[in-house]
Symmetry: C2
Subunit: 405 residues, 2 copies
Amino acid sequence: MNVIDTNFINGVKGFKAAGIIAGFKKSNKKDLALIYSEKPAVSAGVFTTNKVKAACVTLNMENIKNSNTQAIIVNSGQANACTGQKGYEDAKKITEMVAGKLGLKPEEVLEASTGVIGVSIPMDVMENGINEITGLISEDGGKDAAQAIMTTDTVSKEVTVEINLGGKKVTLSGAAKGSGMIKPNMATMLSFVVTDANISKEMLDKALKSSIKDSYNMISVDGDVSTNDMVLALANGTAENPLISEENEDYKIFKEALDYVNVELSKKISRDGEGATKLVEVQVVNAVTEESARLCAMSVVSSNLVKAALFGSDPNWGRVICAIGYSGGDFDPNKVDLSFKSSKGEMLVFKDGMNIEFDEVKASDILKEEYIIIYINLKDGEYSAKAWGCDLTYKYVEINGEYRT
Amino acid sequence: MNVIDTNFINGVKGFKAAGIIAGFKKSNKKDLALIYSEKPAVSAGVFTTNKVKAACVTLNMENIKNSNTQAIIVNSGQANACTGQKGYEDAKKITEMVAGKLGLKPEEVLEASTGVIGVSIPMDVMENGINEITGLISEDGGKDAAQAIMTTDTVSKEVTVEINLGGKKVTLSGAAKGSGMIKPNMATMLSFVVTDANISKEMLDKALKSSIKDSYNMISVDGDVSTNDMVLALANGTAENPLISEENEDYKIFKEALDYVNVELSKKISRDGEGATKLVEVQVVNAVTEESARLCAMSVVSSNLVKAALFGSDPNWGRVICAIGYSGGDFDPNKVDLSFKSSKGEMLVFKDGMNIEFDEVKASDILKEEYIIIYINLKDGEYSAKAWGCDLTYKYVEINGEYRT
């Protein structure tokens, strides 16, 4: 697998994209994205577990069943959630408008919205935007699309990799947005992965659902699960590799590449969490079950007290141990070892379930880096898990509590 | 029931207390408390659900089984958690020292510690402190005791009520500490309730465990469940009311008073959450099950996004609806109504699962008050629940991220 650090979509054969300023945001930033496959493509999707689902989620859960999916339209500024029957009708109309312009059926179009809950999409803005954007899609429009899906994100999040399947070069490229309302089981997180791989809809679905578990479902910015989350994958077969229709060697290679894209996008989302100054990776190893490893990792990365301590570069291992204690994961409290790691070094701060002497100043220096690893060895089994998050900062409070009338 | 706004313990017959500066805290504030019953008393306790339990919790879970409990010793400054076998031996030794001074058996003494995890109790400080405090206990020492259990609390939390049982005046008085690591299923929260009621150990235990469910288990400051949490109740029978040994009318009156004390202490803990500027009460009504009502209420009060919005007096109902959506509670998203309430008035902001027009300026004014109610009508059944929390502020981040080397 080659990691290609290039723009979203660039190099994925048969895909085009665009991102424009349609006028959904007051800020005059790009706010409408279109991703388009020139040929029929199979799709897979994973959607928010929130009981309150945005109209676009409800509609996509239907349209994703279609055997062909060729376009994804995304607006940022209005979430079109909690907007009732009108919201759903608007969502349908949007797919009809896109389909009309691109010569597709409405059910061949997927749709995502992100922004303020409870606000309807201004349909005149959408109509003008669709008229414009459908004329602008190009092979190098991926970067613009990746920027247009951003809300409070400070950077666009794009990952592209190349693999070789049966002698053919296959490219996978993903773009995501995150920032707030980020938590396992999908968050206000949108992620789109396109590939020219030749893979059946069933296997794409299987690969995506499996990949989610170790990527987007293992991140937390603030513990809030949004109404609008989704991850969509499109594969159009243009690479002409032998069709992947079972769990063969090619499937494994494809899956590994997909995992890489999703994990990298997850880390980018975590690092760019609202107000974040650091990316935190929690590694739990030697757990008695996979579930225990996951629960412990997610609990630590979700703890406000741990996150605030990391903001202050405080080697407060007590808060980490406390967080695994209430995680619901199974482990023996008397066996736990804990280390802090970064590019500045590694420091064991807790051993066999007990406090130990350590150099606090050095430990704090390790935590001053931008990429921190909290390494928890449960010494209780053979399962492991990783989770990602960020620190809790003044800026987070400012971003989310800034409303003043 | 009469609510007596007086010092902890004052008026509860047969109980004495004291609070002194023993030297556990660097700040030269009171840090050792002793609560003492002159006569034998029955006890009940509820302890942290964290898998990592402080030594005092482990020891109390044994000692609470004893038929007599006459003293509770509490230090603040060191949590004595994650301190291994030595921590447990220290905890035992402390009960032995207190018992020796008061003429009790060690198992008749309970113990609580609060403070930094992983730090052992300085036993010389403890020994001197016990020597001093056992000579100082008095009927009006409750206020000092309530102050001595504080950590980052800004005010002591005390509630006293009187009831009449079989012609006898019975008094219940509680003191609690909270502040950080506060979340359902006990938090770094200590609460002590003493009463002169004549009640069997079994019924006291039953009343306490039932009372916890609607009070301490329905609050959240930051979602972290501590290693040291406990609620202890002592009843010494000095009021000479007819013994409560079954669920009769007297039990109901007693339980109602106990509920009042625990709910008021829970609200005081929530209002004094680290950095908090507001007390938030979430009322969920007409839920299809009790569990759904509880899950929805706790999810809203625990959401960082909701808490940050309330800090900014932002009537951002979308975050509230989002939080009930991912709560795991059962409800019909199309039926939900939502209002914000305070002493400034009441405002319906969401109806039948949809956004409605409302006066945003007025809604924000309502949220500027110090005691806010988020009223959620699920219109789906007959169960209800209340939960309490606070806003998320810059100060919370400062308190918990202040470590700088």
